[in-house]
Each structure stands twice: as C-alpha cells, then as structure tokens.
C-alpha cells in the first residue's frame, strides 16, 4: 500500500465514530476505576484523554460533516482545547494549604503542597497578612458567612485592604487564597535564650475551633529543643450551640504552660523562666487556614467549555430548524412497525 493511502486508511480508522463510542465507554470505566483507586486515576485518565484527542482530531481532519457544520467543528475543537488546557493545568498548577497567624505576614511556606512539575513558584512574592475575621453561627453551631480582613502591599508599594471569605478569594500574583472552615486561637509567645539578647517570636495554632473546642491544647518545641504543652486556661463555651452566635476570642485569655512536671498559668504579659531561657506570653490572637490554588488555565477552561456547550446548542438548533417540530408531530401513527424512518425522513443527526 502506498504511504499516503496507508495514512488515509489509518486516519479513517482513527476517526471512526465507533471508536469514539468505545473510548467513551473506556472513559467511563477509567473514571469509575479512578474513583475506587485514586492511584490509577492520573494514568488512566491521561491515556483516555490522549486517545479521545487523537480520535477527535482525526475526525475533524477527514470527516466532511465538520466542514458542512461549523458549529459542530467548533464543539469538537473546543473539547480538544479543554483536554489540552486540563493537561497543561495539571503540569503547571499549584495547590496547597497554609495557616496564618493574625498580624503575621505570609512567608511563602506551605503546610501541604501539590505542584505540577512545570510550576514556577512566585509564592514568596504573594505576601499578605490577615487582621482577624468575623464568622456567624446559626443554632447548632452551623457556620455562616466568613469575613476575613486582609492587607498587602501592591506592586506600586501602596497598602491595599480587602475583606475576603467564602466565595471571594484573595488573588495575588495569580495565587488564589481561600478561607477555610479551619481556624482557631493562636497564643503568641516570645522566647529569649538564656544569656542572649535576641528574641524569637512564635505562635501556637491550637486545634480548629469550634470543631475541636474540647481539645484546645497543643505540644510545642521551643528553639532550644524543650518540649512544652500549651493549653487555653478558659474552658468557657464561647459559641452557644443553642443559639445564634459568632466566633470570638475568650474573655479570659490565660494559658497553661506545662514543661515536664511543672505547670505554669500565664496571663498576657507574664513570663516564665525555663532552663534554656525565658518564655513570654505576648497575647492571644486568631489563626486562619487558607487553601492556595494557582492555575492559569482557569479562565480559558471556562471559555473553551462554555464555547463547546453553546456551539453544541447552536448545532442542534440549526439542525432541528431544518425539520419543524410540527412535521415530526404530524408523522403518521400507524403502529410500531415503521422504525426505518420511511414514514418520516430523518436526517442523520451527527455524522455524514
């Protein structure tokens, strides 16, 4: 067989709508398998996406129906763009998680991170800090709206302020910072090593409140390696589950510090002398957990997918307009036997 003929035969096979059906079935199987075992999902979906993309491109290349029906061509090219964009997004995106103490700038360090191999991090430039938050609760401790005040310095050197939360992320250098239900209290300490003048500041993020309101304690390792255990002294119920309320700092801000067998109860401003230095309790603040997401493909994905759906709608509308609904309705009844379409001329729906 001549080479051009061979290529044409190969393209024809690749462009088969029956192959599309098989691949759609394999796609469904891959989704179901990936749902049961997440480890196989990336490979399975990548293979199916690749095969569908080849099938789609081959169909666009050899099937005349795409030249006769431009909206149908747009549908398929837009779907191809979606596949490509999803792939590029996977390679270049970043998602992660941070916890930020009130008043302390974000330093670009993530607690959890999942970055594509082509992601070039600009996170250290996305510096901001949060100035506290308001969260309403309905009876039953059902969380309402979150309003989180944030500020940052823009590229012109001006301070910017905003209130984010729920649907409104903070977007800096393409990174989107979303508030999460994960938030709580953060006792702030300073540590002065014995014989040194330098002071180290740190905050302990107590477990999320009110989700873990009965476990407001956490172990902490001081810079000299000493293990301490920090707990909120107050066990008051801060959000009454029986009525509407709001997140608030406890009225009594004392903390309990345990070092080995020693127990110290500190008020704001108190210090305790330990073997390696002095631990000073500077105050009680809040911390907020943020989800971080970066994917430059997001707006293009929205455009491509919406274009595909609208072009499909236009394709069907144009096709159905050729044969009015009244003509379909007016088709003779005469029982069930006429399935060949002889009594009603039906045009081929999607292919030539």
């Amino acid at each position: 067989m001549q080479q051009p003929a061979l290529i044409a035969a190969l393209l024809a096979r690749l462009a088969s709508t029956r192959l599309t059906l098989v691949l759609l079935g394999v796609f469904a199987a891959a989704v179901a398998a990936g749902y049961r075992d997440e480890s196989i999902a990336p490979v399975a979906l990548t293979l199916v996406f690749g095969a569908l993309a080849l099938n789609l491109l081959a169909a666009v290349a050899v099937r005349p129906v795409f030249r006769r029906h431009v909206p149908l061509l747009v549908v398929h090219l837009a779907l191809f763009a979606v596949v490509v964009l999803v792939g590029l997004g996977k390679l270049t995106r970043l998602q992660g998680r941070i916890e930020l103490t009130q008043g302390v700038p974000f330093d670009g360090t993530l607690i959890e991170t999942d970055a594509g191999p082509w992601h070039r991090s600009l996170l250290p430039q996305a510096v901001f800090l949060h100035d506290g938050f308001d969260i309403e609760y309905a009876p039953g401790l059902k969380r309402g709206r979150t309003r989180n005040a944030v500020r940052w310095i823009d590229t012109a050197g001006r301070e910017q302020r905003a209130v984010i939360g729920d649907h409104e992320p903070l977007v800096l250098h393409g990174y989107r910072f979303y508030t999460t239900p994960n938030k709580g209290f953060a006792p702030l300490f300073t540590w002065q090593p014995a014989g040194a003048r330098a002071v180290v500041q740190g905050a302990v993020h107590l477990p999320s409140y009110p989700a873990q309101q009965l476990q407001q304690a956490r172990a902490w390792t001081l810079p000299d390696g000493t293990e301490v255990w920090i707990k909120l002294a107050s066990e008051d119920v801060l959000i009454d589950p029986e009525r509407a309320g709001a997140f608030q700092l406890p009225r009594v801000k004392d903390v309990v510090v345990r070092v080995g067998e020693q127990r110290h109860e500190l008020r704001v401003g108190d210090s305790v002398e330990l073997a390696g230095g002095r631990l000073h309790y500077a105050g009680l603040r809040t911390w907020m957990g943020y989800r971080v997401f970066h994917d430059w493909t997001l707006p293009w994905l929205l455009v491509a997918s919406t274009l595909a759906a609208l072009a499909l709608g236009l394709h069907f509308w144009l096709r159905f307009r050729q044969q009015p609904w009244s003509a379909v309705e007016a088709a003779p009844s005469r029982g069930t036997g006429d399935e060949s379409g002889a009594a009603l001329v039906l045009r081929a729906p999607l292919e030539s």
Binding site: A309, D338, L344
Partner: protein, 270 residues
C-alpha cells in the same frame, strides 16, 4: 399555609395522572389528555405558591434539605413536561409514563422531614441559581425524552399499542426523544460548567472527582455515548430509548441518591 397549597397541588397532579390513564386514541381520550394538562397547570400554579410561601418564611429557596430538593424537583419536572406538552401536543399522552415517575418523588417527599435546613455560606451566590436551574432543565428535558421513549417501549404490548395508537410512528417518536435528549445534553454540559465554576469559588478547586462530581460526569458520559450511538450505529428507536432510560436512572441516582449518602464535603443539598 405552605401545606395548604401543596396538598391541592399534589391532588391536581394525581388527577392528571388519572386522566392520563383514562386517555387514549379516541376523541374522549384526547379530551381527557387536555383536561390532564389543565390539571397539571393548575397544580403547578398552587405548587409555585407553596414554594414561594416557604421561601418567604425561611428566607431562602428550596435548596437545603431532602424535602426541599424533592418538592422543587417535582415542581420543575412537572413544569418542563407541561410546557413541552403545551408546545408539542404529541407529547400529552406521554403523561402516562412521566407522571408515575414524578409520583415516586412525590411519595418520597411525603416521607421526608419538612423542617427547615441550614443555608450554607457557600450558597450565597448567583451560581447556586444558575447551576440549579440548568440542572432542573436538564433533568426535565431528559424526563420528557424518557417519556417518549417509554411510549415506544409500551407500544410493544397490545394494551400499549392500543392506548398510544394515535401518536406518531416510532421513528417520529425517536426523533422527538432525540431532540429533547439533545437539549438535555446541552443544559447538562452547562450545568457541569456552572457547578465547576461554583466549586472553584466555594472550595478553591473546580473539579475533585468527589462522589457527586464523579456520578454527574458519568451521567454526562452516558448521555454523550447515547447521542453518539444514535448517530453512528443507526439504532432502532427502541434501543435508543432503552439507552436513554439507563441515562435517566444514572441522572436520578446522581440527583437524589448521591447527595444524601455521600460523606464527602461536596454533598449537594446536605
């Protein structure tokens, strides 16, 4: 007040079902079909008032509990079917297939707790209304397609052939089913896009293959397969109708099953 309006609405729907059973190819049957449509429209008016009353009392739409999801879907499915029946008269006898399916939801709703639910902070967005409206249009149009396909299936029996004798032939019904399924597919695609946009806003990711997203995508794939199969395999209307039935079962489980059994963060209504 809400219940005072809901019960007569359900009564109208039930009577429309009786009219559908009593319908048939004869002139009297056709009159009963028209009466059934009038009852459906009356029931819809009462049901609309019932939902509006609850909406005003709670301060939010029917989006949060199983009861609310069921009542709003009974309303939207009936609305889509009634409007389609007004526009395409040939659809009216399909009430015999469509109304029992809506009746299943109505019976389920009567067992559900009608108490108020919590309106989550992630629901304070226009995307809630866009996503929900697109989803309801999708399911409603798919139900109409399934109703038409059901007639093709029922005409395999002697009783069905007699009852639906005045309807267009199977090829024409297959075309009708295809048209509604195609429209459903467009709205389902837009629903998934709106849902992904909402998920990005609400949870900081547009797609995470959680149970609801996975089932919704499988439903989309199944409908894409069904539409493609009709084009490439030149199926008989009965086979195509059976495939649409499978898609409807998947969609039904996605809408009314997964959100209420899933423990993932994306639980739809709960």
């Amino acid at each position: 007040m809400e219940a005072l309006l809901l019960w007569p609405a359900l009564g109208c729907y039930a009577l429309a079902g009786v009219a559908a059973i009593a319908g048939g190819p004869q002139a009297a049957g056709v009159v009963r079909q028209h009466a059934g449509l009038a009852l459906l429209l009356t029931g819809l008016a009462l049901h609309t008032l019932s939902i509006a009353t609850r909406w005003q009392a709670l301060g939010h739409g029917p989006f949060t509990t199983l009861y609310e999801i069921l009542t709003s879907n009974i309303w939207s499915l009936t609305l889509v079917f009634a409007l389609a029946s007004v526009r395409v008269r040939a659809l009216r006898p399909t009430a015999l297939v469509v109304l029992p399916l809506i009746g299943v939801l109505a019976a389920w709703m009567l067992w559900a707790d009608a108490g108020p639910g919590h309106f989550p902070p992630t629901y304070h967005t226009a995307l809630l209304y866009i996503h929900t409206a697109l989803g309801k249009l999708f399911l409603g149009l798919l139900l109409v397609a399934v109703g038409v396909s059901g007639v093709i299936g029922m005409r395999r029996t002697a009783a069905g052939a007699a009852h639906f004798a005045a309807m267009p032939n199977d090829a024409a019904l297959g075309e009708l089913a295809f048209r509604f399924a195609a429209a459903a597919f467009v709205f389902e695609s837009l629903m998934l896009i709106a849902g992904a946009t909402w998920a990005q806003d609400a949870w900081g990711r547009y797609w995470a293959w959680d149970p609801l997203e996975t089932w919704a995508f499988l439903t989309w794939l199944a409908l894409a397969f069904t539409l493609h199969a009709r084009a490439s395999l030149r199926q008989r209307p009965g086979v195509y109708g059976a495939l649409l039935g499978v898609v409807f079962v998947l969609a039904f489980l996605t809408f009314f099953g997964v959100p209420f059994v899933s423990l993932s963060p994306h639980k739809g209504a709960v």
